[in-house]
């Protein structure tokens, strides 16, 4: 392995990259000066009437006299949302903006009530009478797969919207040669990303220009523009989409929601402004869900406990419709492609199905499938360790990838990473022998401690080819950045990414600062407005720092090259003698210099002096579309389990991670902390529960339980930096790792704590009730035997 860097070189001396400078976006946010969608005043407000039934035919909709109530009948000119995938037996299904004759899940929007205030809209919505003739819903994916199950969409026979299959050549022979086959039947229950700010949109028609401005809480403003313009038959130039400050997205805000389409349609119809702010109940029942999967995973091991083949059956409950742009392939196909994780295994078979049900539509949520497949695979490795009487650490040592580049059984190319080194680092820092002694002692006192390891890879910053491999009709891979210096010397970067908490205004400024030799607080990163930002795909999939960061670096290097040329003219010195630092171009070894501001002024206002050798102005563009790079980490959880109540407390949490070059360590740590909080929520607390009728039992934050500060352990972070060769900034993404690793580490720790009871649990969330049920079963079996 090559030397790990804490700080490398991009050509200029790195003064800003690698420093934990404070976030430039924070002063406004923490002093209440942020701009959020719901802050905007509107002439009209919308309240959606949502289906109380999970399945049925709409017999009638009766609006109160005088009320403006929009239904599907008003929207005949609007196309249906029909996401497309050109592979994996994908069956396109269509979603009307408002339910058109049929309802398919509780919470589906049936009508939009328009009134002059939010309160009036809600009062009127209460008076809309909807008559639905109910039919029996399908809530569980396995029920939807059963022969003879009702068809949720005629276009998808058997309720299978897509089916991915893979089997490597020679699989059967290797499988047959196994010394041991280890199996896990894992269940991940449904979750909601639960951003602090739920969905909101404000659409305003401008009578002068005929344009509509849609301000909405989204992760991808340009794609919203493209999609909505397509559906409404508008020119894209007539629609401006603004993502102002966005209070968290986590993937939930990277899909097109029908509600936003309706708002734009209404703004055009009313020639006015119209707004909608989703409430928490709507967000929990009718925004996007995720993580509802069954995975059966079997590992074939040779006599040395080396994994030689892996076989997976993934059943992903994708809900009632397909999400745009990723389609409902996002979870099952991610599971299929990345199941082998950080382990060296060349034989692989997988069947991954997306199954339609009468539940809220599934879409991306931080980690997308990987929290589930990592939990499943890491449980499998612990089970295998048990089967071979090995320590969980030993079995990982025998199987982790350590030769790079590594091509996986699914054809993914892993760039250099530190799977083994982070494992060893974590084992060392946690002091495993000391823990085992403590655990033994605690058990004597009736306290049950457990330790769980999770090693994993995190594919990040992947460009267009990765999406093309899925057969997506839209391949949101590349990014463009415009870096310009205005005549006063002020630097602005306009980016197509759309950060909403990731700190890109700071990290991209750090990258530019090092290229141009000016401090980051003099650099403004502009995003989130289709009128001012270059077309781009937004922020999701741990991509922005890698891809937008790469595009930023490319553009900044061009600006740097031009500044050096300008300086060469102005200082009458060779380009090779010019250095950029402290906001100036200097001739190395002399006291002669010129400020960036003076150079900028010159190139705009005194162009003739450059004798036609330089174009006027100081504005450059960079585009980047990388192949993708793998971050990696080892997470360790230590839990205490109360066998009488089933309660689990995370006592200690340690991470050894490697995300390549770290641009801003404070921001990187924040990403890991936040991800772990959501991962612990996934592991222990958060679950959308449907009843048999398809009603949601967890429609508020007392019943749907994200962890609070009280439930969060202190997180100890340890870092390695393996600069990526697949990313020009050498940075890898790390937005999802915390979420990916935590369920696996916590579940392995719970199962370690349960060892004396001879009980295992392979369900997330591992709720106290589920843990007690498993223990009670064992207690009753023990009684019977006695």
């Amino acid at each position: 392995m090559s030397a790990h860097e804490t700080r490398g070189s991009t050509g200029a001396g790195l003064k800003w990259v690698g420093r934990a400078i404070r976030r430039l976006e924070d002063p406004a946010l923490v002093t209440g000066q942020g701009h959020f969608t719901a802050d905007l005043a509107a002439t009209h407000w919308v309240r959606f009437v949502r289906s109380p039934n999970a399945a049925g035919k709409i017999e009638s909709i009766k609006a109160p006299d005088g009320a403006l109530v929009i239904t599907a009948a008003d929207l005949t000119s609007v196309k249906k949302i029909t996401p497309m995938l050109h592979k994996f037996n994908y069956r396109p299904v269509a979603q009307s903006i408002l339910a058109d004759g049929v309802v398919r899940y509780v919470g589906e929007a049936i009508a939009a009530v328009v009134a002059s205030s939010e309160e009036d809209a809600e009062d009127t919505a209460d008076l809309v009478e909807v008559n639905i003739s109910e039919s029996a819903p399908l809530v569980d994916a396995r029920d939807a797969l059963a022969p003879g199950a009702p068809q949720i969409h005629a276009e998808a026979p058997g309720n299978v919207i897509l089916k991915g299959e893979i089997k490597t050549a020679g699989f059967d022979d290797v499988w047959a040669s196994a010394a041991k086959i280890v199996r896990i039947d894992a269940r991940s229950h449904r979750q909601n990303a639960t951003p602090m700010e739920a969905r909101a949109a404000h659409a305003a028609y401008d009578k002068a220009s005929g344009r509509v401005t849609l301000t909405c809480t989204t992760q991808m403003p340009h794609l919203m523009r493209t999609a909505i313009a397509d559906l409404l038959g508008m020119r894209e130039s007539d629609l401006r989409v603004i993502a102002p400050d966005v209070g968290g997205g986590f993937g939930q805000k990277m899909s097109l929601c029908a509600e936003y389409v309706l708002l734009v349609w209404l703004a055009c119809k009313l020639k006015s402004s119209v707004a909608w702010t989703e409430d928490r109940r709507e967000n929990l029942i009718a925004s996007f869900h995720s993580r509802d999967q069954y995975i059966t995973l079997e590992g074939a091991f040779d006599a040395n406990a080396k994994l030689i083949a892996l076989r997976a059956d993934v059943v992903s409950n994708v809900g009632a419709y397909s999400c745009f742009p990723t389609t409902s392939g996002v979870e099952p196909l991610m599971a299929m492609a990345e199941m082998p994780g950080p382990y060296d295994v060349q034989q692989y078979q997988c069947l991954a199905r997306g199954v339609l049900t009468n539940t809220c539509t599934m879409a991306a949520y931080r980690g997308v499938s990987r929290p589930i497949i990592t939990f499943t695979l890491e449980r499998l490795m612990d089970k295998a360790a048990k089967a071979f009487a090995l320590d969980p650490v030993d079995i990982r040592r025998r199987n982790l990838i350590d030769k790079f580049p590594y091509t996986s059984a699914t054809g993914l190319i892993y760039d250099e990473a530190t799977y083994r080194q982070t494992l060893e680092m974590a084992v060392h820092e946690i002091d495993l022998p000391a823990f085992r002694a403590q655990q033994k002692e605690a058990r004597k006192q009736g306290h049950y401690l457990g330790i769980g390891f999770a090693t994993f890879s995190e594919r990040t910053g992947y460009g267009s080819p990765a999406f093309a491999a899925r057969g997506m009709a839209i391949t949101p891979g590349w990014e463009t950045v415009h870096v310009s210096v205005d005549p006063s010397g002020f630097v602005e970067a306009r980016i197509g990414s759309s950060p909403h908490g990731q700190g890109l205004r700071t990290t991209l400024a750090q990258i530019i600062a090092d290229e141009l030799g000016i401090p980051p607080d003099l650099i403004k990163v502009v995003h989130g407005d289709t009128d001012t930002a270059p077309y781009g795909w937004g922020t999701f999939a741990s991509r922005s720092l890698v891809i937008s960061g790469g595009a930023t670096l490319i553009a900044a290097r061009k600006v740097r090259a031009k500044l050096i040329k300008i300086a060469s003219h102005m200082l009458e010195a060779a380009e090779s003698d010019i250095v950029l630092e402290d906001g100036q171009a200097k001739i190395a070894g002399t006291d002669r210099s010129v400020t960036v501001a003076a150079m900028a002024r010159e190139i705009y206002t005194q162009t003739h002096r450059f004798k036609g050798e330089l174009e006027p102005g100081l504005s450059e563009s960079g585009t980047y579309d990388p192949p993708g790079t793998f971050s990696n980490a080892c997470h360790v959880a230590i839990v205490q389990l109360d066998p009488e109540t089933g309660f689990v407390k995370v006592e200690r949490y340690l991470v050894a991670e490697d995300a390549g070059r770290i641009i801003n360590p404070m921001i990187a740590d924040g990403q890991v902390h936040g991800g772990i909080a959501q991962g612990i929520g996934n592991a222990l607390l958060e679950e959308i529960v449907y009843d048999y009728d398809g009603g949601v039992l967890t429609a508020n934050l007392a019943d749907y339980m994200p962890p609070t500060a009280h439930e969060m352990p202190h997180v100890e972070l340890h870092h390695m930096e393996t600069p990526s060769t697949q990313s020009i900034t050498k940075a890898k993404g790390l937005g999802e790792g915390g979420t990916i690793g935590a369920p696996a580490a916590v579940l392995n720790a719970i199962n370690d704590a349960l060892t004396p009871f001879n009980v295992e649990i392979d369900i997330i969330p591992a709720t106290p009730q589920r843990i007690r049920a498993a223990l009670r079963k064992a207690e009753q079996a023990a009684k019977k035997t006695a």
Partner: protein, 285 residues
């Protein structure tokens, strides 16, 4: 999440409050005190009262006093009043210990003791306290004043013996003996959440044996109550693990468990067993 339209009345005197309540009772008029339960359910439109009688300006209802026998708690007394002991009595120590388990700090600053009882959530810490200690409820209306014993007051999930036009003006809790022991334990999944089961116990030690045992269980049934089978398993016994386990088993066997998506009957019994034993252990700590 905007409440349905309602009229808010702000009386200044108890007589005004009762007069308005009697007028609006028939139109689902409700008392608004701290609003920490009522306002959220109004926001969800699970409750749509046409009138709210806001008692926050009513003089005298903030009375919190002990006469040497009982502690009287007026309708405007907030949970936070109990953050520190309110009297020189074991009861005050008990209330202080229990109070810190109620929801979160901002909720304790607004929510009221009597409001909690009138709302009658099965998981309420104060309802459990009132049931365990046999509180007396003072219900007032224009028709007059009556006393209701705790065992007759709680009728089920969010259901009480209060008539529509009655205000729970005061609750009286009997003071505890100076040698009284108490213990409390509640189980929830996150700090500040509703208890999935809770137990409050009090007793004295007479001649080395448990006497006058009270074992209250909340959050497990439709209303909190004393579990006489568990009390019987304690009275006359030495306060030790054997007695505590027996009481916990008795409570677990006796309850008629409420079920919900995170708590089936078997699990609720497990929790009752655990909370009763831990409350008893806490009483010795």
């Amino acid at each position: 999440m905007k409440p349905a339209p309602f009229v808010r009345h702000v009386p200044r005197t108890l007589q005004q409050a009762l007069a308005i309540l009697s007028q609006v009772a028939g139109q689902d008029g409700r008392i608004l005190a701290g609003g920490q339960s009522l306002v959220p359910i109004m926001a969800f439109r699970l409750a749509k009262p046409a009138h709210l009688v806001d008692i926050n300006e009513v003089a005298g209802l903030d009375r919190l006093a002990s006469d040497g026998k009982v502690l009287s708690i007026g309708a405007r007394v907030r949970h936070a009043a109990f953050h520190a002991p309110v009297a020189d009595n074991r009861l005050a120590a008990l209330l202080t210990y229990v109070a810190r388990h109620i929801a979160h700090y901002p909720i304790r600053m607004r929510g009221t003791f009597c409001g909690s009882l009138a709302h009658a959530d099965p998981a309420s810490e104060w309802c459990l306290t009132a049931a365990t200690l046999d509180a007396t409820m003072i219900a007032m209306s224009q028709r007059g004043t009556r006393e209701i014993a705790a065992k007759d007051f709680f009728e089920g999930i969010m259901a009480t013996a209060l008539a529509e036009d009655e205000l729970l003006a005061e609750v009286r809790l009997p003071l505890l003996a100076s040698d009284a022991k108490f213990g409390f334990y509640e189980f929830n999944r996150r700090a500040g959440d509703f208890a999935m089961a809770a137990a409050l116990v009090t007793y004295r030690i007479v001649g080395g044996k448990i006497a006058e045992a009270r074992v209250g269980v909340g959050g497990a049934e439709s209303a909190p109550r004393r579990i006489s089978e568990a009390e019987a398993a304690l009275n006359g016994r030495t306060p030790d693990d054997t007695a505590f386990h027996a009481a916990a088993e008795a409570a677990s066997d006796t309850v008629d468990p409420l079920e919900d998506h995170q708590t089936d009957a078997a699990y609720r019994r497990d929790l009752v067993r655990a909370v009763v034993r831990r409350a008893l252990e806490h009483s010795c700590a």
